[in-house]
């Protein structure tokens, strides 16, 4: 079973889990609040709300005060409980790598490693992930090709390389990818691929870091899928019903550009959303899962029916948005 299929199976199980309603109702209850808006902006799923809630006193004291609503203690505990479930799942997914490479800790691979949430002392335990589907996903994830690459290439990393070093390098790679956009490969990687021998130490070193970046991104996609299942129930589509013009598919990055018709306020695409793209590619209808990486207009205050430009990045069957781009690394 592919990781993507296992993730969808887990999402399906989440959809019918009694605990789903609890979380969905909670998120629904804060939907039209500033806390929700700013928390959502962090693209960190439930962690976004927890972070903004934790820092709301500090924001209120700043010169341009940001007033955020306070949550009941029980709500915080429930959100924290759900977040814990997600991070536990993430940790289980990358355990083989963490076990084999001690300085590559879970924190290195966590999609939330750049956020500083202070520990929440008490949480409400919830049981939202069905055991069978969770185990299947974890097993599938253990076969993630990037785990093997990361282990195989770990020999070039000095023993003194700390988790902080790792995090710093991974974030640099992410920045380079973001800077290049979904339609182009970062120039520094193009040069490495074109000029350096595949077995050169530097290229192996980069391959190792890219493998970690990819694993972290895969976990991030997994978490977003789970969150989407709770919050929206289904993924948004860009298909023949709202595509105004499909630009092109970039084989080097798995990126696409498209102009689509902006939907109503309920069906609004935002950056970092995972969407289903259905388009005619080389004469055949292709369905691809993509992450929205760029939107113009960016702010979703445009009216329904107006055109919107998007750049999308295909997510492969390992939930890796960078798999296509770094396939030849």
């Amino acid at each position: 079973m592919t990781i993507r299929k296992a993730a969808f199976e887990l999402c399906k199980a989440v959809g019918i889990s009694p605990a789903k309603k609890q979380i969905a109702d909670l998120i629904g209850s804060i939907r039209n609040t500033s806390l929700h808006y700013h928390g959502h902006e962090l693209h960190a799923q439930v962690l976004g709300y927890l972070l903004m809630h934790q820092k709301r006193t500090k924001f209120a004291e700043e010169p341009i005060a940001l007033k955020l609503e306070a949550l009941d203690e029980d709500k915080v505990k429930l959100l924290a409980g759900f977040h814990r479930q997600v991070t536990d799942l993430n940790e289980r997914c990358v355990k083989p790598l963490v076990d084999s490479k001690p300085n590559c800790t879970y924190k290195v691979l966590s999609p939330y490693n750049h956020f500083d949430l202070e520990p929440i002392p008490e949480i409400i335990e919830i049981d939202i992930f069905a055991k069978e589907q969770t185990d299947n996903l974890v097993n599938a994830f253990h076969s993630h090709p990037q785990i093997k690459i990361a282990i195989d290439t770990a020999s070039v990393i000095p023993a003194t390389f700390s988790p902080e070093h790792y995090i710093q390098h991974i974030l640099e790679i992410e920045d380079a990818i973001k800077g290049a956009g979904a339609l182009e490969r970062p120039q520094e990687f193009v040069e490495i691929i074109e000029r350096q021998h595949p077995s050169s130490p530097n290229r192996i070193y980069i391959r190792h870091l890219v493998a970690l970046t990819s694993l972290r991104a895969s976990l991030s996609i997994l978490n977003e899928l789970l969150y989407s299942k709770i919050f929206f129930d289904q993924l948004l589509n860009i298909d023949e019903n709202n595509t105004i013009k499909f630009g092109s598919y970039h084989y080097a990055t798995g990126g696409s550009s498209v102009i689509f018709q902006n939907g109503g306020l309920i069906f609004l695409v935002e950056t970092d959303d995972i969407i289903v793209l259905r388009t005619n590619l080389l004469g055949e209808i292709a369905t691809k899962f993509c992450r929205v990486e760029k939107l113009d207009p960016h702010i979703p205050i445009i009216m329904p029916g107006e055109p919107r430009y998007a750049e999308l990045r295909e997510i492969d069957e390992n939930l890796n948005p960078y798999g296509i781009m770094f396939d030849s690394l």
Partner: protein, 344 residues
Amino acid sequence: MKITRIQSDNPRVDQWKLLSQFSYPTNINRFAQEKGLTFSKETVDYIAGCIRQSEAYFSAAESSPIDISPLLMYYGATNLLAGTSALLTGNKLPLMHHGMNFHLPVVVNPKIGDYEINPIRPTDGALQNFSNIFSNGCLLTGAGRWSVLEIFGSIPDLIEEFEICYQPALPFCLPAKTIRAEMHGLEFYYDRIDMNLVSKYGKVFETLMAISNVSNAYIPIRINIPNPFAKLYYKPDSTDVGIYSTFGQKYLPLNHQKNGNQICPSQIIFMFMGLYALGYISRYYPEKWNPFIRTDETGERLVIEKFMSICQRYFPNLALNEIRGARIQFVYEIEVNPFISYEA
């Protein structure tokens, strides 16, 4: 349909020059060869005869008073469609009847717009046979009657006069403009309709959904009421559903509700139906036609004169479009030499 622009200072004459090419057997056979068709000698003579007679009837109608010009032009239209059909298919159509019945209105003091026609005889009637070729097979027989008002309201060039004369009736086509836009180097087109015009029809969304072939041509319509325009984005590879006025302005035709079906004949078929109705009144009901053209006080005569004028100018053009597989747009452009300065 591609657009072919032809420079002309007299389109009425020049369109017949182009059509008259098909009154010569050599040209007809050359056309057949290009299309991969084989014409019998009888068919060639039939086409040539139809085109010649058609031109003669149109010419006679132009120089005749309105007492008889509708009938003459109807004959010309029938000949032109019959000849063009044979040219496009290689066969003479099995026509034994006009394919329409005429019905007098039952209302007191009817307008000409209240008279009706009823399409009949699907196999050997001229109307349905022509509709099969010039209106994508739009099924008219059995769908019910058409009033002259409905016919006039479906002709883009006639909208202004129609709206004045037949208030509060609304036309069956919406003026639209095709807009070219670009985002991040991606070029796209959409049709834009003034929301003020659409809102006259009451329910905006329902009106837009009544545009003929709307779901084949455009992605699902999303509108925002405060926006001054409704934007209709084309589906990939969709065909243009617009109809065009003599001067090339785009209109989106609205479906007509007939016996529970939504149908929308082409502009040339509407003109043909209108000419039949007016020809019938003038030929068989002179006691109604004569007082109308002498003493009309409603302004409806102006509508009818405009309709005749449009048919005179545009009907042959529409037939020519079918033959050429392109929208022939006659233009009169004066090229100004930028290197010559003119004294005031």
